[in-house]
Symmetry: C2
Subunit: 229 residues, 2 copies
């Protein structure tokens, strides 16, 4: 058992190093095309696709948005974001894999017209653990969590909160119904990540989406040296 | 990259076979002690700990219940179930691992007084993907999902619904607030798993918990050949 474990770790490190190279290559391509790439990570059902749909509405006419949808199976999210106005969308089915990897994104980028995009949102597989270790080529990691999941997610899944560049708290419309201690949540996040902005939104009511979308546009300008639209 | 992948799969299979052996050993120990073991799997925030607390309330005075809590980090769930009347509880911190494995449960069993227990609930790490491949020694696999996560979880995470012996749909008190299509959910589950009973509950209001708890007791009697209490 321990011998196998040691081998697994070694090969795992090689795979992660290989993944990081592919991710760096993706990031270079995206930066060159002035496409801000967001790695959107969350539990199943936190509202990842709804957040993308909200972004499409908030930036309509101001930014062309592409989407890569990562799922174990199915393509209903891709259909949703195309219907909501995504400029382009590609589905990746991981066939059981619990996270996206950079080479999957590399393959998906072939099918996207990067020259026409301003923002690319990569919706990772719903999982608060495994995606944290696999860079995809993103400029920003976003951790989305919903009030319905409870205020203890930072305590239980610290790494994803620690490594994220921005945290979005969704389903604010349910906060009074689900025993969510907002102060406890903020304190727990701040202990792990003192700096990342935290946006409170409700994809259902639209609350807070504009502020988050504006922040994302401003990050594109800063990180990719593009002038304001 | 492909060479590394092949190696990883081979070693993964060895690890899984080794895990299955440890799981069989755990199951033998538990069966001998007439302890029904439940592997409780769900997304982060679906209500795993609340379901255990609900079970403790529903079977108070009728069954001694032990709990193994699996988390990446933290011990707040163990504190909760002990406060709620668990006969005994053990915390496993996986230190980043996205699922429990049989050898972790084997280690935890040392700290539990099996002779005094009727039911052991093993709360897995919050994840709809990784726990599916790792048997722990359970008699029953339970997939818990909440209405707040949306009706599309069976489409996106088919394997966990396919392999589970029982499915519990939690947060029924929120169903009218979250655009959950009950018929679509049931059809999707039934396409993957025609037989597993589906219980609708609200851990918040207590709705449905008694029926599920009675079912669990009856499964103990059947599977472990114990007479009704």
């Amino acid at each position: 058992m321990s011998v196998h474990s040691v081998k697994l770790v070694t090969i795992g490190e090689n795979l992660l190093a290989s993944n990081d190279q592919a991710a760096a290559h993706n990031r270079d391509r995206l930066s060159e095309a002035r496409v801000l790439a967001l790695n959107l990570m969350a539990s199943p059902g936190a509202g990842k696709t709804s957040l993308i749909v909200g972004l499409l509405g908030a930036l309509q006419g101001r930014a062309q948005i592409g989407v890569i949808e990562g799922d174990i199976a199915g393509s209903i999210d891709t259909e949703k974001v195309v219907a909501a106005g995504a400029y382009d969308a590609v589905q990746i089915n991981t066939g059981g894999n619990c996270h996206l990897e950079a080479n999957m994104v590399e393959r998906a980028l072939i099918d996207l017209d990067l020259a026409s995009l301003d923002i690319l949102v990569v919706e990772n597989v719903g999982n608060l653990v495994c995606p944290t270790h696999w860079a995809l080529g993103e400029h920003l990691k976003l951790c989305l969590v919903s009030t319905a999941e409870g205020d203890d997610k930072p305590i239980k899944y610290p790494e994803i909160f620690a490594i994220s560049d921005v945290i979005v708290l969704n389903k604010m419309d349910l906060i009074e119904l689900v025993d969510f201690d907002r102060d406890f949540f903020y304190e727990s996040v701040r202990a792990l990540n003192p700096k990342a902005p935290i946006f409170e939104v409700s994809c259902r009511t639209g609350e807070g989406l504009a502020a988050w979308a504006e922040w994302l546009l401003s990050r594109r300008e800063e990180l990719l040296c593009v002038s304001p639209s």
